[in-house]
Subunit: 138 residues, 2 copies
Amino acid sequence: MNIGQAAKSSGLSAKMIRHYESIGLLGPATRSESGYRLYGRNDLHTLVFIRRSRDLGFSLDEVSRLLALWLDRTRASAEVKSLAAKHIAVLDRKIDELTGLRETLLNLVNHCHGDHRPDCPILEDLEAGIVSPRERTD
Amino acid sequence: MNIGQAAKSSGLSAKMIRHYESIGLLGPATRSESGYRLYGRNDLHTLVFIRRSRDLGFSLDEVSRLLALWLDRTRASAEVKSLAAKHIAVLDRKIDELTGLRETLLNLVNHCHGDHRPDCPILEDLEAGIVSPRERTD
DNA sequence: TTCGACCTTCCCATCGTGGCAAGGTCAAGC
DNA sequence: GCTTGACCTTGCCACGATGGGAAGGTCGAA
């Protein structure tokens, strides 16, 4: 099948499939006589694997390692588990970070009258440039 | 003071201060005879405002609007509150998204033996390309 | 043959930041 | 005076992952 169909079937965009090939995440696709990229069942399988990995938030670099493990029948599942665990740790850190910001902002918003008057604790906070955001939950 | 001192005092990098000027977030700085940017007390105040806003996760576009409100003495605090509330909503969405991914991954990791054998539920999931609404975020 | 849908490559934009290069300026020490 | 090092200037390139679009080739059906 051509790239358009492969894109539809995998959920990736044709643009991204070409990009993945250009950065070496995918090997060069077979070409038709006229130069069109051709994808078979195995290729499609790989594309789906990539899409699912991206959907789970893995970076292209991580996807690349996951792909290698997937194709390596002598892999130890411990390696995959470790990669996924590291990714979870990254997610945890991000979630904590965003949650901290959220709390600070919520606090400020709750203290703001939100009426026609100009006085605003939110702006006052921004103005003060408080250094440790997480501790600012008064 | 020169840009280096302004950077140190505000917590921004000199690079970013120049960038903010180039995109119009900051007005053109006063210049010394030799072309050095000069920053006074008010300028520093603004830089600190920007840094704090960025620290709270506002985009440069939002910072721009916050700055305008800050400088507008006839502002209604409701406008600031609304802007902040919208930002909280964005944070909420992101947190939900990441939490969803985290849960899925944690589940997979917990089901993986993580030993020397190749069998791995994580790879099996990626292979299957499961699409659940919770995780289809892009 | 023509038309529309597809494909190709290549470049540019995003967002926010860092890095580096080539050059100008300034203040301190000799 | 002159050198040195720290600072400043502008400008371009890079990241990560993706989208947009231009300019042109190919295919299949009417």
